[in-house]
């Protein structure tokens, strides 16, 4: 098991290198001279020259790459053009908000996604299955920001149940946070719930066809035990692999959702940076999120390996 973890971490390094190279490369895609774009239409030649020197754009390409990686190793993700402070600092400041939102959305996804999927599988081809599958399908087809807006119209404007303005952090007031965080989390989670439900359903159906399920029934186990213990244990394994993907999509969805709900998290930080062409922020922020998600995925892989005894006890095979 230990060797599996080490192997997994080592595998991640070249990918991390390429990922950072890609984020570096994104900024090189900007057509024309970035210094001019950043300086704006009113910048003088001297100001543009300053910008160019500050960002190191006047150096040869390979030097720029080298400087980029050197900074990365020191934890320097660049400096935001707009805010004037280090990208890393700005991101970490807002991280708790996005994280709490993501956790809420994750819990919703897991609870509803798995229950709907299992229910649909156990009642295959009945009306329950049809409803569940249709619900999942629709969830996957809706633009999540639009869903957020619709919810605002319905629950805030017309019904007045949930607030839309301002935002309360979890650490300040958990109950009010819950009220504020529910709509954005549901909007975030909707697509994932649909996906997870579909995957859970097909995995469950596949698992129930396996021989060992027939053996479990032949032993005289009650049906609930066959499903809850024997089937679910095997269903959870592929479902866990999907959790990593779900987390990625959740966090990337927060870019839009946070803008819609005016939530001051990493997502709206990036959203603003995009609107205002804060290139260093975009570059640093994207890299941070991508790297964080990679790490999370590795954790999920390790969790998967721990759950599946075939992997756990065969360490090194």
């Amino acid at each position: 098991m230990g060797s599996y973890i080490i192997r997994r971490l080592l595998q991640a390094i070249p990918i991390l290198l390429i990922v950072s190279l890609i984020s570096f490369g994104i900024m090189k895609l900007v057509p024309g001279d970035p210094a001019i774009v950043i300086g704006g239409p009113n910048a003088t030649a001297e100001e543009i020259e300053n910008i160019r020197r500050n960002l190191g754009l006047d150096r040869p390409f390979y030097v720029q790459v080298g400087v980029f990686y050197w900074n990365l190793l020191q934890g320097d993700l660049g400096r935001s053009l707009l805010l004037g402070k280090p990208v890393l600092e700005a991101v970490i400041e807002r991280a708790p908000i996005t994280i709490s939102l993501s956790i809420y959305a994750m819990v919703l996804t897991i609870v509803f996604g798995i229950s709907i999927g299992v229910l649909a599988a156990l009642r295959q081809n009945t009306w329950i299955d049809q409803v569940a599958t249709t619900f999942a399908l629709i969830g996957v087809s809706l633009p999540n920001f639009w869903l957020g807006l619709v919810m605002i119209v319905l629950f805030s404007v017309h019904l007045g149940w949930l607030p839309t303005n301002s935002y309360v952090e979890f650490s300040d007031d958990p109950v009010r946070w819950l009220r504020h965080a529910t709509m954005p989390s549901v909007a975030l989670a909707m697509l994932q719930i649909g996906l997870l439900a579909r995957i859970t359903r097909s995995t469950m159906l596949e698992t129930l066809r396996q021989d060992y399920i027939r053996t479990a029934r032949a032993k005289g186990l009650p049906e609930w035990r066959v499903v809850a213990k024997h089937a679910m244990a095997n269903v959870m394994i592929p479902v866990i692999t999907v959790v990593g993907i779900i987390l990625s999509v959740l966090i990337s969805g927060s870019v839009v959702i946070e803008s819609v709900f005016s939530i001051p998290g990493i997502g709206s930080l990036l959203g603003n940076a995009i609107l205002r062409r804060d290139y260093t922020m975009i570059q640093g922020g994207l890299l941070f999120v991508a790297a964080a998600l990679m790490l999370l995925n590795i954790l999920v892989d390790i969790l998967y390996a721990w759950f599946d005894p075939r992997v756990r006890y065969d360490a090194g095979k």
Binding site: T215, L221, D314
Partner: protein, 336 residues
């Protein structure tokens, strides 16, 4: 046979719903199993033998399959009329079953000890006295006992192993241990050795025979291998296309088969003793269950058929006490 049979299958009919209509996999099958007796059910793939066993256990895949008629009397009670919870209680404790594919029949994510003790505890909790244990520790001890009985070395260590750590033969032994852990009166063995290496096959059969003698249980062993029957069974029923062609004591049937299909099966199996003549084959193939021939289903391939064979199902004739054949020419003696 004055004593009441342990298992009595009467006129069992099992059908499957398919896209091309309903198909009868088991068509009016009847046989008895006495307590402590070993009955073999032989037939080619698709003859309906596994379906028969699944019907007895109530393990048919429910959407396509269902029992359409007949009775299955176990110790006098009709299993088909029992409420589901009753039937479930009998599975594992009164009737056990082992399957063909040891590689996939054990849950890969639980240890074998977990899976054995689970059977024991489920049945003890609901009061099926056969388990005779109380509590997790006692169940584990019994589990180790069972593993030892089926010949697994160092059972105290291996009880915590996972299925993928065991070979095919070992897994089959574990399956047997699980099925027998609550001392059932009847064991259904569906092709127990087919998926195993030849050398292991012999070991498993020996094991089953020893256990059968020791526990006095009845076994229905399903196979396509005549050799297994010869070794192991007291009586045999030969199935063809969903019906029983011939049924009787193993010795009699092997010496003097009366149904042409049985004769064909036996003559296509080489003898180890004496000169080996050229093996005969039965021409043709099993009929598709969607297009069954009228009358005797074996008729198209039979070298003794007459016109009467094609009209109406051949009645089962009693050749001798306990020996039945479904062939109108059975009494004339078979060609060999």
């Amino acid at each position: 046979m004055a004593a009441q049979p342990l298992l009595s299958v009467r006129n069992l009919r099992t059908v499957f719903g398919t896209m091309q209509g309903e198909v009868t996999a088991v068509d009016d099958v009847s046989f008895d199993v006495a307590p402590g007796e070993v009955l073999g059910i032989v037939g080619e793939s698709g003859s309906g033998k596994s379906v028969t066993a699944l019907s007895i256990m109530g393990l048919l895949p429910q959407p396509p399959g269902r029992v359409a008629g007949g009775e299955i009397l176990f110790e006098g009670r009709d299993l088909l009329k029992l409420p589901r919870s009753e039937l479930r209680r009998m599975r594992g404790s009164a009737i056990g079953m082992i399957f063909q594919e040891p590689m996939t029949s054990l849950n890969p994510v639980f240890s074998i000890g977990d899976q054995i003790t689970e059977t024991i505890r489920v049945h003890e909790r609901i009061g099926a006295a056969a388990a005779r244990t109380r509590g997790a520790a006692a169940a584990r001890t019994r589990g180790i006992e069972m593993l030892e009985k089926v010949g697994i070395p160092s059972p105290q260590r291996r009880i915590d192993d996972f299925p993928h750590q065991l070979s095919g033969g070992m897994r089959q032994r574990v399956m047997i241990a699980m099925a027998l852990s609550c001392s059932p009166r009847l064991l259904l063995a569906d092709e127990p050795t087919t998926a195993l290496d030849v050398t292991i096959q012999a070991q498993i059969l020996d094991l089953l025979r020893d256990l059968q003698r020791e526990m006095g249980m009845a076994i229905v062993v399903i196979t396509h291998n005549m050799g297994v029957i010869a070794e192991f069974a007291d009586r045999v029923a030969i199935m063809y296309a969903g019906r029983i062609a011939e049924e009787g004591p193993v010795g009699r049937i092997f010496d003097a088969p009366t149904h042409p299909y049985t004769a064909g099966l036996l003559s296509s199996t080489p003898d180890l003793v004496g000169e080996v003549p050229r093996l005969r084959t039965i021409p043709g193939t099993l009929p598709s269950l969607y297009e069954l021939p009228p009358g005797c289903r074996f008729a198209p391939r039979c070298d003794r058929r007459v016109e009467a064979c094609e009209s109406g199902r051949p009645a089962t004739q009693e050749i001798a006490p306990g020996h039945f054949a479904a062939c109108i020419r059975a009494r004339e003696g078979a060609s060999a």
